[in-house]
């Protein structure tokens, strides 16, 4: 019942329309399918996820692993330049080897995909969980709770994500596996935006009839949140989360590039770039491969995120389009 009500109530509430859950998913796919760029991006993302999941398999196929040193493949007399042309590319080492250590580049690249995507996904899940919890509590709670949580949210939004994540990495215990730690830190500092969106939406939903009815029938805050609010919050939260993933990938890469994120021997694209500038002449692919991997991943995820937003909130998307094409002007 609440679902039917929701569908009829939401048009008046704001930009993001929550599709009725029954047909929502199908409608979402239909709208996503019409966007060519988003589809290509989705395919690229799917491929990347597949590579990340199958990383051990792929490296086994190549017959290498990401952490073994191959001192014989680098010329220690010349400072560790890979032996052979094209940075040591061969049938054994498909993309060559890392300068100095001789670790296999292909293996490090595909294992780097695991770190990049894994860290970003875990961090995003954490950001969404904290953001939704804080936003809901803030929107539903009393004045003091709202004030306290809103101020805390303001602080999280005010501080640059990179600065705070970097600073936090100084004080966290070092015993933890590094990628997990980085994911936790990014997740812990990046929830401000989602909390703001959820709070605003919750407050506007609170005044709707079906939520008021639930309150009057004595439902508790948790039950109202779960049954009446979360379905309507899904669209804005998914939209926001979809765009958080590429941001988180960049942050992880940046932290690792600065030498405080994921550390060797674990492979990470950002960390691979740390010393790449020294080797660009002898092994250009050592620089270009992780850079290209980062670029393609972030680009695909951003385009997909834009597509998800358009599919979930066609009105906002079309608002931006009104009067854009000369042909449409007459119609608008």
């Amino acid at each position: 019942m609440s679902e039917a009500l929701l569908a009829s109530e939401t048009p008046g509430t704001g930009a993001a329309t929550a599709p009725a859950p029954a047909s929502g998913a199908r409608q979402f796919w239909r709208r996503l399918r019409t966007q060519r760029a988003a589809l290509v991006a989705a395919a690229v993302v799917a491929l990347l996820v597949l590579v990340a999941l199958a990383a051990p398999l792929l490296t086994a196929l190549e017959g290498q692993d990401p952490t073994s040193y191959h001192p014989g493949l680098v010329d220690s007399a010349r400072g560790g330049v890979p032996v052979g042309s094209f940075g040591g590319m061969s049938a054994d080492h498909w993309l060559g080897v890392e300068p100095q250590t001789g670790r296999d580049l292909f293996a490090r690249l595909v294992h780097g995909a695991r770190v990049s995507l894994g860290v970003a996904v875990v961090a995003t899940v954490l950001q969404v969980a904290i953001g939704v919890a804080v936003g809901l509590a803030s929107g539903l709670g009393g004045r003091w709770l709202d004030q306290t949580l809103s101020r805390a949210t303001d602080v999280m939004v005010a501080l640059p994500l990179m600065v705070l994540a970097l600073a936090l990495l100084a004080v966290v215990p070092s015993g933890f596996p590094r990628p997990v730690l980085v994911a936790l830190v990014i997740g812990f500092v990046g929830w401000g935006g989602i909390a703001k969106v959820v709070r605003a939406k919750t407050i506007s939903l609170k005044s709707l009839d079906h939520v008021a009815a639930a309150r009057l029938s004595g439902w508790g805050g948790v039950r109202i949140a779960r049954r009446e609010l979360l379905p309507a919050l899904a669209a804005p939260v998914i939209t926001y989360a979809a765009l958080l993933v590429p941001t988180n990938i960049t942050v992880e890469a940046a932290l690792s590039f600065l030498g405080v994120g994921v550390k060797p021997p674990t492979a990470s694209w950002g960390q691979m770039l740390t010393s790449a500038d020294v080797w660009y002449q002898a092994a250009p692919q050592y620089l270009l491969l992780p850079a290209a991997a980062l670029f393609v991943t972030v680009l695909a995820l951003t385009v997909l995120g834009d597509g998800v937003r358009t599919a979930l909130d066609p009105r906002a998307a079309s608002r931006l389009r009104i009067g854009t094409g000369r042909k449409r002007e007459g119609a608008a």
Partner: protein, 353 residues
């Protein structure tokens, strides 16, 4: 996001203080300043709490892994970690207002008025340390900001004007690629091409403006361009989106109906409407720069705030880290408040809405 931040601060202040400060422009400014002060206070509490109630053993981390228990205890005494948190926090606040005297084994180290503590590594005053780095980061930030505002807003306006045409599609693609490129990737590639292969520019080395303005600019050119390219993409997207939104509004349609030229609609009316989010974002980015342009500075080896923070994190110099985070937050909040007030000066409707 920043626009909503400042807006929500203003709304909240109005809700709780409604009639107290009165309406009108003065009331708006007062409410905004008060809102900023409250946020700053919460900011300092949150940061202090987060860093000193961190899950790790602060004394052990600060001292390093090879410290003996006695040395760890000494660090703990000096940072007064055994005192309750609120006394330490109040002490920290007092240090900011009136300064602080630290007793060491051999004598007394004085820390002047806006005292953020002493570096654990060098005993240098954190405030002084930060002030010393401001010119470097300031040089980088100001130059880059001028570039990215011109480039970003220009691109945004152009693609909103040429909407639906090939120009827009190309610009949209380029800016999308720009937002997907981390600054250290574009900087790295530019540095290798321009300084390494082509040797058009020297590998950047910071030369103070007062020493040699020409060398200063020459050395900073590449960092400026790298930072500006990435930021411009963000601004172009924002400008384009908010201009398109303004162009769809009723009053613009009325202008069109009256036969106002498209160039004038886009260049004057739509641009003015689109400027608010751009100003808000600039303010936020400007404030953030006090955390340093972490990646750009590290990549090009510029000794600014960002590189200092990275260094402090690597050697776990907690007072420096906490001080830098506080100063960054302070300037972000300050810049947002100033932007809000400035914008209200330019467009009084903000006061009413």
């Amino acid at each position: 996001m920043t626009a909503t931040l400042s807006a929500s601060v203003a709304t909240k202040a109005r809700g709780s203080l409604g009639g107290l400060l009165g309406g009108g422009f003065t009331g708006f400014v007062l409410r905004r300043v008060l809102g900023a002060l409250v946020t700053l206070f919460v900011l300092s509490v949150v940061i202090y709490a987060v860093f000193y109630v961190a899950p790790g053993d602060v004394a052990q981390i600060t001292c390093g892994p090879r410290c003996s228990p006695a040395q760890v205890q000494q660090v703990s005494d000096q940072l007064r970690l055994d005192d309750p948190l609120y006394t330490r926090y109040l002490d920290f606040l007092r240090g900011i207002v009136v300064g602080h005297d630290y007793s060491t084994g051999t004598g007394v180290l004085h820390c002047d008025a806006p005292c953020l503590g002493l570096s654990y590594q060098t005993d240098q005053q954190v405030t002084e340390l930060i002030l010393n780095k401001v010119p470097v980061t300031g040089s980088l930030a100001l130059g880059a900001m001028v570039l990215w505002l011109i480039l970003g807003v220009g691109t945004g306006v152009l693609s909103a004007w040429r909407r639906g045409r090939a120009t827009e599609r190309i610009l949209t693609g380029v800016t999308l690629a720009g937002t997907a490129t981390p600054v250290f990737v574009i900087g790295l590639i530019l540095m290798i091409l321009v300084c390494g292969q082509l040797q058009w520019l020297p590998f950047p080395q910071y030369v103070p403006f007062t020493d040699d303005p020409q060398q200063w600019a020459w050395n900073l050119l590449l960092p400026w361009v790298s930072l500006a390219l990435i930021e411009a993409a963000k601004y172009a997207r924002l400008t384009r989106a908010s201009m398109l939104e303004t162009l769809a509004e009723d009053h613009v349609r009325t202008f069109r109906a009256y036969g106002v030229k498209e160039r004038s609609i886009v260049g004057r009316h739509a641009l003015r409407g689109a400027l608010a989010p751009v100003i808000a974002l600039s303010a936020n980015d400007f404030g953030s720069m006090f955390g340093g342009a972490l990646l750009t500075e590290t990549l090009f080896g510029l000794p600014g705030l960002g590189r200092e923070l990275v260094h402090a994190v690597r050697v776990v110099d907690l007072p420096v880290v906490v001080g830098m985070v506080m100063v960054t937050g302070f300037f972000v909040v300050l810049a947002n408040a100033v932007a809000d007030v400035l914008y209200a000066v330019a467009d009084r409707r903000v006061v009413l809405s």
